[in-house]
């Protein structure tokens, strides 16, 4: 917060720690992600495929378990996008995040729901709704890429972003 002229301030900083349970489906999701597999959960009643996996199908009000998890394609279709062009405090680090950066909302092949993720494209004129996209794994990137990691760790940064596929790659 910017200090206003003549304003009296009391400042302090407090950590507010949590140890959130992520649930069995998310554990399985990250375990499989480490093996380069992207998992969704399929409703045993209506067959709707949730990606990311969820524990309940809201349409049927039916539970989904790790046994209902199915591997999905790393490729999909672009449903929407935006390019963030304002200063933002990174919730992971508390530091300012460099901008601009791209967000996409896409439907992986086999999924019925959409996934939101970063995209390495930052020019909004380059996106085309309906085009093909692909999840990128961190160890496939050039070694000098900021998101490169030599191995998968089973966390969200195993897939640092979604990339737009060029026509000749489809």
């Amino acid at each position: 917060m910017v200090r206003q002229k003549g304003e009296f301030q009391i400042r302090w900083k407090t950590d507010l720690p949590y140890r959130w349970a992520i649930g069995k489906l998310a554990v399985k999701y990250f375990e499989e992600l480490k093996k380069r597999k992207i998992m969704g959960s399929k409703c045993p009643k209506c067959g709707k495929m949730y990606m990311p996996p969820r524990g309940v199908c809201a349409d049927c009000f039916v539970e989904m378990t790790v046994d209902d998890m199915v591997e999905l394609s790393r490729k999909g279709t672009l449903m929407g996008f935006t390019v963030v062009n304002y200063p933002f405090v990174d919730p992971n680090t508390g530091a300012m995040r460099p901008f601009p950066y791209g967000y996409v909302i896409c439907q992986l092949d086999g999924a019925d729901t959409y996934l939101m993720h970063f995209c390495d494209e930052i020019d909004h004129t380059k996106f085309k709704i309906g085009q093909r996209v692909e999840a990128v794994f961190c160890d496939e990137l050039p070694k000098d890429h900021e998101s490169y990691r030599p191995e998968l760790k089973g966390d969200i940064y195993d897939i640092p972003f979604i990339r737009l596929l060029k026509d000749e790659e489809v």
């Binding site: 996008f81 390019v83 405090v89 992971n92 939101m116 969200i156």
Partner: protein, 379 residues
């Protein structure tokens, strides 16, 4: 059983209200309301407040406003969410016949916190929160998907801002009172494509209060009661990827139910004025469609027609709306207060002549997750 709004009070909306705590803001409007109605705190049967813990920076944040709203050693409860839902809670208390009068108050000092971080905390911390999604970037995604699907132009979206800003000029409570042009909107800095700085609302501080009463008490307190005629709420999926993002389906369902209760068959004809919570320019176009003011995908054409302007068939947001005063979490109750002002003929320069039936739309959550539609009628 009937429930009436017998009086409303609002603060001026502005950012950085550093001379008042949020408790003092609530006191300002409640005291104003008491004086207006010639009542004291003893005439208030129960108190309902609406606010958000993360914005206030305290848990069970209603506990911190008890002095200001007059609920110490009194029946009190609270909605953690938009003020429109607080109105519903208060109306239910009157309809239960347990209380003759219920005070409902909603406040926010959203300019005091980092709204991007506060809204980011809506998202689950496993799959989404680390992405940094917030109210602006998720609005960018929704606007992009809606506008692409239906061929809505950035100019059409900008017209919403121009209209609401023009209306705000007539509202003494409005935060931003500066007329702008479509060109100003289009040339403002791009924040989250296709949304530019002026497609998005400011961050405003303020409070709003109203007194609800049963029929018998209402007659003693006012000559111009405003009656609740229809109500419905409907919530969409939590996870954005589980919604279609191009249509406000939950709002559509809520509107249908509220219209049915109020006996509204043709909203354009039957409703004289609408106050809606539009969180970004194109959002208001999506709201037109969901409320049945026009067909699906026709929001752009509908703003072009001018029918939602002050002289149109269905003026939307004569107050200037959220794009002019964004008191996040109080916005819905402000919509109700503005409709009440319209139906009692007290809306001053923003008055819609002869307004008899009004609609208020409040929402909370990211991209219209929780939706509350209220239909009011004057005597």
């Amino acid at each position: 059983m009937k429930v009436a709004i017998v009086g409303v009070a609002q603060t001026k909306y502005e950012s950085n209200k550093i001379d008042q705590t949020y408790m003092e803001l609530t006191f300002e409007v409640v005291k104003k309301l008491h004086n207006q109605l010639g009542i004291t705190n003893d005439d208030v049967g129960s108190v309902i407040t609406g606010s958000n813990d993360f914005t206030d920076g305290r848990t069970i944040a209603n506990m911190a406003v008890q002095d200001g709203v007059g609920s110490v050693r009194k029946s009190e409860s609270r909605v953690s969410g938009d003020g429109a839902f607080a109105y519903v809670y208060a109306a239910m208390r009157v309809l239960s016949q347990e209380y003759d009068t219920v005070l409902v108050v909603s406040h926010s000092k959203c300019s005091e916190g980092d709204q991007c971080l506060i809204n980011n905390s809506i998202f689950d911390p496993f799959y989404q929160r680390h992405l940094g999604l917030d109210q602006i970037s998720s609005a960018g995604l929704m606007a992009n998907m809606y506008m692409s699907k239906y061929g809505i132009t950035e100019e059409q979206a900008a017209k919403v801002v121009v209209k609401n800003r023009k209306n705000a000029f007539n509202n003494p409570y409005a935060h931003i009172q500066k007329e702008i042009t479509v060109d100003d909107v289009l040339k403002s800095p791009m924040l989250a494509y296709p949304l530019k700085e002026l497609d998005l609302p400011p961050y405003s501080d303020g409070a709003v209060a109203m007194l609800l009463a049963n029929e018998e008490t209402a007659k003693k307190l006012t000559d111009t009661p405003v009656w609740l005629r229809g109500y419905a709420n409907c919530t969409d999926a939590y996870y954005l990827g589980n919604r279609n993002m191009t249509d406000l389906i939950a709002l559509e369902l809520a509107a249908k139910e509220a219209y049915k209760m109020a006996g509204i068959s043709d909203p354009i004809k039957d409703i004289d004025v609408a106050e809606v919570s539009e969180n970004f320019s194109a959002h208001e176009l999506m709201i037109y469609e969901a409320l049945g003011f026009c067909g699906k995908g026709e929001g752009g054409k509908f703003i072009d027609s001018g029918e939602t302007q002050m002289g149109g068939k269905i003026p939307v947001n004569p107050s200037g709306g959220v794009l002019s005063s964004n008191v996040a979490m109080a916005n819905g109750l402000i919509r109700v207060a503005e409709v009440a002002e319209q139906l009692t003929g007290k809306a001053g320069k923003r008055q819609i002549p002869d307004a008899k039936t009004g609609l208020a739309y409040g929402m909370n959550g990211i991209c219209s997750q929780g939706n509350c539609v209220l239909i009011f009628g004057g005597d």
